[in-house]
Amino acid sequence: MPAIFRNHLGKILWGLVFASVPFMTRDEYYIHLLIMAGFYILAVEGLNLIVGYVGELSLGHQAFLGIGAYASAILSIRFNIPFLMSFIAAGITGGLVSFFLGYITLRLRGAYFVIVTLSFAGIMHLVAVNSDTLTGGPLGLGGIPGAGIGIGEWQVRFSSKTSFYYLIFALVLATLYLCNRIVHSRLGRACIGIRENEVLAESVGISAFRYALLFSVMGGILASFAGSFYAHYVTLVSPEIMSFPQIVTMLLMLVIGGRGTVAGPVIGAILFTIIPEYLRIAKAFKWPVYGVLLIFAILIIPQGIMPALRGLWTQYGSYFKFLKIRSKVNAHHP
């Protein structure tokens, strides 16, 4: 086996498994669940850049889902802009807003950042509810055209669940690839340096403010992309998308999956999209259970599932030496 395959064997296998899901089941419901999981993977990877790498708690990340979704919805309904353009425009809008927000708040971090991001999301929610003419008020915007890519005659329409599945699959792959590259680059190492010891990092010439700003802009863009995808997939956006429970869901996925790892949000997002569906009977108990889970996750596995698994692998991995899988020693957990 060529080295590149052997080194990435696990990732390739998982990729193949998820790529073949539409061939394994005809039940559209499962495909829909995985599409939603993909949507959350994009958003939570973005949140991870801020919470996991910069080490600041953002409680306003759900606002970027909303900004992306509304930007996309307004552009495609009012101005008939094609999917690809509105998708990119949504990302740019989210990036700009996130830049201005970060520019104001990232100079003062810690508690200030938490509270300002929280009230920022509150404002965005208010705007969505109150400005009827722009956002459709509490009912939201409906009838968003579905997704399609192409020029003139050559159009690919994403009409079936399966096609949307492959669209989000591609987006997730691109996101994971980019996040992996970013966090293992100078950029990511600088950011981890800041998270671990800001004074030390500053003393060797790393500007905490600039790196934190860069990472939160990237986080904002990712969430806006997720929001834009959501708008075109569900074809309806309402202020619900940026309500507080949304950020709690994302935090749960991140904290339990493992912050500060690229794989953590993937595990978290898939777990917490699929598990709740099986707990339908106890739907009323979903949020109390989520609250308790959040508390116990921090108390019992403070780093999350992914680093815990990695710890097990370094402890017992030697039993699987015959597989010749190279395990990367990764010191990236917070």
């Binding site: 300002v116 920022f120 404002i123 109390p288 989520y290 609250g291 921090i298």
Partner: protein, 288 residues
């Protein structure tokens, strides 16, 4: 002019209840470096328990208010002992996530118990407004103002002029030095947390008698209380009181004269302005 004065008085009264909620938050942050998102739920518990004591046990308003406040205080004690103390020394992110978890749990358990219909604590007063000059004040509001003024003055006096208060002040300023001077900071943390929860519960009862009680009432107030805490300076108790009054008045005037829909946005703009020009809080003397 009369309308302006009327709104101003209404704003002051609402602001006092914000102050009550914010005092606990700012003390918890100053002492333990914890962003307590469950604080809004102690506020909710105040109104919630008072409603159930009145409705189910047919007790009088004042008795049930007292029961609600004491019960919430016990809740605060338990929370500090079992949860917050375990997280000592962990970063803000960790404690914030845990208290968000607690808040979600309490809110939604409350929702399961109470259901979606907002409840109103039966008020002990006739719904006849009282005239002060040309300004009208509802009796429930007058009660809220009186209770708030008493509690805030009590806190102020106790904080500045008693031995316990001075020990608290010392712990806020320098925890290690306070430990060296023989102050039991663990006990302090616990009782401060409980006192803060009790004040939030008082606010919950007062507002519950003015408006309605819902399981989610804490969510709206906690965001405002944080605004107040930032405006007053993190950890600054009297700053929080003044911040509360400022926010209450600004909101009421804003809702009356600018836009009612964006009333809740006013706090955010105040925070942004404060962070821009004086991030240590409006009433903090510069320490340099």
């Amino acid at each position: 002019m009369i309308e302006f004065l009327q709104q101003f008085v209404n704003g002051l009264i609402i602001g006092m209840t914000y102050s009550l909620v914010a005092i606990g938050l700012t003390m918890t942050f100053g002492l333990m470096n914890v962003i307590n998102f469950a604080h809004g739920e102690f506020y909710m518990l105040g109104g919630f328990i008072a409603y159930y004591v009145v409705a189910l046990m047919n007790m009088g308003f004042y008795i049930s208010a007292l029961i609600a406040v004491l019960a919430t205080m016990v809740g605060g004690l338990i929370t500090e002992r079992l949860l917050i103390r375990r997280l000592r020394g962990r970063d803000i992110l960790t404690t914030a996530i845990v208290t968000i978890g607690l808040s979600m749990f309490l809110q939604n358990t409350g929702f399961i118990i109470m259901g979606p219909i907002p409840k109103s604590i039966p008020s002990p007063f006739e719904p006849v407004p009282i005239y002060i000059g040309q300004i009208t004040v509802a009796p429930a509001r007058l009660l809220a103002a009186a209770v708030s003024i008493i509690i805030i003055s009590f806190t102020h006096l106790a904080y500045n002029y008693t031995k316990v208060g001075r020990a608290l002040k010392a712990t806020l300023q320098d925890r290690d030095a306070a430990l060296l001077a023989g102050i039991n900071t663990n006990t302090f943390n616990m009782w401060t947390f409980a006192y803060g929860s009790a004040l939030a519960a008082v606010a919950g009862v007062l507002l519950g008698a003015m408006f309605v009680v819902t399981p989610f009432m804490g969510e709206a107030v906690i965001a405002k209380a944080w605004v107040v805490v930032i405006v007053g300076g993190l950890g600054n108790i009297m700053g929080a009181v003044l911040g509360g009054l400022l926010l209450g008045v600004a909101e009421t005037l804003g809702a009356g004269f600018i836009s009612a829909g964006y009333k809740d946005a006013i706090g955010f703009f105040i925070v942004i302005l404060v962070l821009f020009f004086k991030p240590t809080g409006l009433w903090t003397k510069s320490t340099s």
